[in-house]
């Protein structure tokens, strides 16, 4: 088995009396989709924020590409190739779809952004941005103001911006939320291919998508991982069915 790309050990995070994460350990291996499921408020977004650098864990360690990145900030982890999509879209709403994608390409280029050139006339930036938009199917709305997109389209744009970074791993927080069934089927097909470019840690409520995509599944309940395994193993797990899947069916 090859080295994991991303490795989380014993992550713990308290918000006052609330324990959002308790000794969470998991890893992400090359070529796989590792899904994290769990009820609302289980601590999934808190886990992602600690992995990507937005939140500092109270205890535990995050390793990315074999390096301990726990002390690094979001930017440093992003530059190493960790791409995050947000549960609640974090996009420049007044800007166009293309400008948001170009921003991603700008980040991927590194260094200080130029002062006098035109961002939209920069061939390299523009090609990278347009390629990413085409891949998620947003090329038709490239010139649209982001605020005018539907919720589903904003989720797609989140994914497109992550693509422009050409990352070593994706961390996606509910990319299908708010998408129609057609959109989410389309994104499911897309992510299924994308895992071969870089592995995906996927938090998702859409069970059809999760069962179709996940190579492995972790179930997070009240901040703890109660089970990790293949889709078949998790489906058969009694504890999981009681704690979580039972409610869904």
């Amino acid at each position: 088995m090859s080295e994991p790309v991303l490795e989380v050990q014993g992550l713990t995070k308290h918000f006052g009396a609330v324990t959002a994460c308790e000794r969470v350990s998991l890893d992400l291996r090359p070529g796989e989709i590792h899904a994290v499921i769990g009820p609302n408020g289980a601590g999934k977004s808190t886990l992602i924020a600690q992995i990507c650098g937005g939140l500092r864990p109270d205890a535990g360690q995050v390793k990315f590409l074999g390096e301990d990145v726990t002390a690094l900030d979001t930017r440093a982890r992003a530059r190493m190739g960790l791409a995050r999509t947000f549960q609640i879209s974090a996009l420049a709403m007044e800007d166009t779809v293309l400008q948001n994608a170009i921003l991603g390409a700008l980040g991927a280029r590194g260094g200080t952004p130029g002062f006098l050139g035109r961002a939209l006339k920069d061939k390299g930036l523009r090609e990278a941005a347009e390629a990413a938009l085409t891949r998620v199917g947003l090329n038709d709305v490239a010139a649209t103001r982001t605020a005018e997109l539907s919720h589903g389209q904003r989720r797609q744009l989140e994914v497109a911006v992550a693509l422009t970074l050409r990352p070593r791993a994706f961390v996606m927080d509910e990319p299908m939320a708010g998408m129609g069934s057609e959109g989410s089927a389309r994104l499911t097909r897309f992510l299924s291919e994308l895992r071969h470019e870089a592995p995906i840690l996927l938090v998702e409520h859409d069970m059809d998508a999760v069962f179709a995509l996940a190579d492995r599944l972790s179930v997070l309940v009240y901040g703890r991982i109660i089970a990790t395994g293949s889709v078949a193993e998790i489906r058969a797990n009694r504890q999981v069915r009681q704690a979580y899947l039972g409610e869904e069916r």
Binding site: T74, M93, D95, Q99, G107, A119, L120, V161
Partner: protein
């Protein structure tokens, strides 16, 4: 709706036409008013880079305006008294040369903006406004209590500083200098808006978390914008001091910081030509209404209220409509 480009062109032409007409007509006072508009608009363009593009509501931009003014006042007063500024470790003489004064004004303002930015940009929202205001007051009281350069009374310069090849005492020529500075700053702001830096800064205003996750630092982007902004407002301060041949601590006052913000709000926040429209309106109102009543600012207040309530895009927004995403 008139396209913003055309409107901008018309504004620039108007800025040129009024003083040229006044020149042909032999009305130097009108030229002086137009010069004042150009200089205040320049200060506004400086702030607009921080406020419009970066979302940084600085209530302390008078610091840079004042520093530019005092850079001019100090250098020129030493030149007119023939006393060097410093003799050790090496001789620094005063100067009456505008390009040198501008360079000093820009560098000093940029350094001040760097220091103030490093301290203030860790905060945001109301805290940022209050800290920038506090810095403004610090400089204001420092200038008042510094007797060497006039203290509360300020400093008078007898003859306007010189620019190679021009007669700066001729109002229309001095206007030309100020107009050129304004046009250059507008050009720079226009380029910044469309540049990768502007794109990133604009995104950092709307969604800082996004900018961090693509690997850029909102703090550094804002600091850079703040330095550029302070430098331009500092240049405006040096020109303003030259227009009046006088510098005083009021250049550092918070009222002045507020006026610069008013220019931007009147014209339209983030609109390239907003500060030009705002400053022109402000100076015109001051001149016309100030003749009737000491309380002309009441009318200004009413106008400001109307603009904020009716036209959130400022006067430019009223004529040219909503801002388009930048090309």
């Amino acid at each position: 709706m008139i396209p913003e480009r055309w409107l901008n062109g018309a504004i620039l032409l108007g800025m040129l036409a009024v003083p040229l007409w006044a020149w042909a007509d032999g009305a130097p006072f009108t030229i002086t008013l137009a010069t004042k508009v150009a200089i205040l608009a320049l200060a506004g363009v400086g702030l607009n880079i921080a406020l419009g593009l970066g979302g940084l509501v600085s209530l302390g931009h008078a610091v840079f305006f004042g520093l530019g003014g005092y850079a001019m006042g100090i250098l020129a007063s030493h030149a007119q008294s023939f006393v060097p500024l410093a003799e050790t470790p090496f001789l620094i003489e005063g100067t009456k040369s505008m390009p040198v004064i501008w360079l000093v004004a820009v560098v000093v303002s940029a350094l001040a903006a760097l220091m103030i930015g490093l301290l203030c940009l860790r905060t945001s929202g109301v805290y940022f406004i209050m800290i920038t205001l506090a810095f403004g007051q610090m400089f204001y009281y420092f200038a008042i209590s510094w007797p060497r350069y006039g203290g509360e009374d300020g400093l008078s310069i007898y003859v306007r500083n010189s620019f190679p090849g021009l007669n700066t005492l001729d109002p229309i020529q001095f206007f030309g200098i100020c107009f050129a500075a304004l046009a250059a700053a507008l050009w720079l702001h226009g380029r910044l808006i469309a540049s990768p830096f502007g794109l990133a800064l604009n995104a950092a205003r709307q969604s800082p978390a996004r900018v961090e996750t693509i690997g850029l630092s909102p703090f550094r982007l804002r600091l850079t914008a703040f330095v550029i902004s302070g430098a331009i407002t500092g240049l405006a301060g040096a020109l303003f001091a030259d227009l009046n041949r006088f510098v005083s601590p009021t250049m550092f006052s918070w009222q002045l910081s507020g006026e610069i913000i008013i220019f931007i709000i009147l014209g339209g926040i983030g609109r390239l030509y907003g500060p030009v429209v705002g400053a022109a309106l402000f100076v015109t109102l001051e001149h016309v209404l100030g003749g009737f009543s000491e309380f002309w600012q009441v009318y200004l207040g009413a106008l400001l209220l109307a603009v904020v309530l009716v036209a959130r895009g400022g006067l430019i927004g009223l004529v040219a409509g909503r801002e388009r995403p930048h090309e």
